[in-house]
């Protein structure tokens, strides 16, 4: 066997590769599989949150805001517990970002509220003196794309086994079930119900009127998404 291998350098090389690759696999795979499990308390995005995530991506929020808290005291003091890989289990794509022109947003739902986001997106400098973030006025009039958000949900559920309509564990030891619609019409209705809860905490009369008329502006979806980041 070894004589044969010594006479056939190509197969010898293949053998060496296999041995080293096997060592790599047993080192890396179990750890990776363990770290990729959803963290307790991580739940799939509802349809409105998913639409907000798309608004976030569309406006390139991730170009200036990261969603990854590093394990340094200075960061955890400011943003909360450092990020765990399992917390991104339902993020496709993940939005870690690589640059912080603005602050990290991975747990922004813990310390900012609906009405703050509303004021801030309208005029950032009005609530954060000296802020260089531009205003995002068009989000108050553009309509959120619920159909695409529902398509994302379906893709995640069917191809990546994201547990919609199934109980997922919560931090307090209970479970919570994130519902997903069975049809586009139902998804739009569910999004509208969620939007009504969000607009109850908003001041903008136009936004409230739009939601009452059955239309969901992008700002409502975005706030739903930001509030879900905890």
């Amino acid at each position: 066997m070894f004589h044969w291998l010594e006479k056939h350098p190509f197969f010898f090389a293949v053998g060496v590769f296999l041995v080293i690759a096997f060592a790599g696999l047993v080192e890396i795979l179990p750890n990776f599989a363990q770290a990729a499990q959803p963290t307790v308390g991580t739940k799939p995005y509802t349809v409105l949150e998913m639409a907000g995530r798309e608004v976030y991506i569309k406006n390139s929020c991730n170009a200036c805001h990261s969603q990854l808290i590093r394990p340094f005291k200075a960061e955890t003091d400011r943003y909360g517990h450092y990020s765990l890989s399992g917390e991104y289990a339902y993020d496709r794509p993940f939005l870690w970002g690589s640059k912080r022109t603005g602050p990290d947003l991975h747990r922004v739902g813990n310390y900012r509220t609906t009405d703050w986001h509303e004021n801030h997106m309208k005029d950032p400098a009005a609530v954060v003196p000296g802020s260089i973030m531009p205003a995002y006025g068009w989000m108050f009039t553009n309509i959120a794309d619920i159909n695409t958000a529902y398509a994302s949900q379906l893709t995640n559920a069917q191809f990546f086994s994201v547990p919609y309509n199934k109980p997922v564990p919560t931090k307090d030891g209970g479970t919570v079930t994130v519902a997903m619609a069975n049809s586009v019409a139902e998804a739009n209705k569910m999004a509208l119900d969620e939007a009504k809860v969000i607009t109850a905490g908003m001041k903008d009369k136009d936004v409230q009127d739009m939601v009452a008329a059955g239309k969901i502006p992008e700002i409502v979806a975005l706030i739903a998404y930001l509030n879900s980041l905890k």
Partner: protein, 303 residues
């Protein structure tokens, strides 16, 4: 004496001479121990290198192959059985010992962990914080409270704590008229951990009375406001909040001004009212809560 050794010795002499001249041009050794060590090292290096090289060149010139051939041969190329070189064997055994030491002291038993480093750093920082701020004067608390406020509270309440034109509560006052009206109409059940009972809605339903109470409470319980005082009593506000809004432990909060207990309760439970919602701030430690309570109590008194 072989000719090679003579050439080697001459080469060593030439190298050392060159080093001496170069050193002299650069200003000599100046009695510096590091310079002396470097020169001594260079001398040893040159001598050892030259003599070792000379020895092996000699050996190549004079050695002939011999000894016992090994049984294995590769494409008719044979190999002599050589004894294990002593230096190699020592290094090999030394490496085995080193591997054991490295396993235990280095990776993986004592492996570096980023989270471990974070935990150590945090514990150290917290211990330092506790040690540095065990006993604080009122002024130090006020100053620490101000910095905590600017980082955590100012994004909503504003740098001056004035609520930025109604975007959040104006902390220079305990409560605004609109908030009083909202609470009277809708009840309140925000501060669950300290006041588990909450407050029922609609204790007053007459609009004039509600307005009077709102004005009375928001303006700090002025004794000459007879209509307000009457409405306050009519709504049975006084039975829980006290005649002058001083509150009652576990039943109703103090509403005639801020105090440390009230601020820490809001920080713990968050709040939802006429203006909007405020999240709970559980990231602050006990000293920071005390500091920010002091700061808010101070500024609400105009200090």
């Amino acid at each position: 004496m072989n000719k090679l050794y003579v050439v080697g010795a001459l080469f060593v002499a030439a190298m050392l001479g060159f080093t001496y001249v170069a050193m002299d041009i650069k200003g000599g050794m100046n009695g510096d121990i590091v310079n002396m060590l470097a020169i001594a090292g260079a001398v040893v290096l040159v001598i050892v290198s030259v003599f070792v090289v000379t020895k092996y060149v000699r050996q190549m010139q004079s050695d002939t192959a011999g000894g016992e051939l090994a049984e294995e041969n590769w494409d008719s190329i044979g190999e002599y059985k050589n004894p294990l070189p002593m230096g190699w064997a020592i290094i090999f055994l030394g490496l085995i010992v080193w591997a054991g030491w490295y396993f235990i002291v280095g990776y993986p038993v004592n492996a570096y962990s980023q989270i471990g480093e974070y935990n150590e750093d945090s514990a150290k920082a917290n211990a330092k914080f506790e040690e540095k701020y065990t006993s604080l004067t009122a002024e130090e608390l006020h100053n620490m409270g101000e910095s905590v406020f600017l980082v955590n509270c100012a994004p909503c309440h504003g740098l001056d704590a004035d609520g930025m034109n109604g975007k959040a509560a104006n902390l220079h006052k305990r409560i605004a008229e609109d908030s009083v009206k909202h609470v009277v109409n809708n009840g309140a059940n925000n501060l669950k951990t300290t006041f588990p009972g909450g407050m029922p809605p609609m204790l007053l339903q007459d609009k004039a009375q509600i307005d009077a109470v709102a004005k009375y409470v928001a303006n700090g319980f002025k004794a000459d406001d007879a209509a307000g005082k009457a409405a306050f009593t009519a709504g049975t506000c006084n039975s829980c909040h006290g005649e002058n809004g001083e509150g009652m432990p576990s039943v109703a909060p103090k509403i005639n001004g801020w105090d440390a207990e009230m601020v820490s309760t809001v920080l713990k439970d968050g709040k939802k009212g006429a203006i909007g919602a405020m999240p709970a701030f559980t990231n602050l430690n006990a000293t920071q809560v005390k500091a920010v309570s002091t700061y808010i109590t101070d500024i609400s008194k105009g200090e």
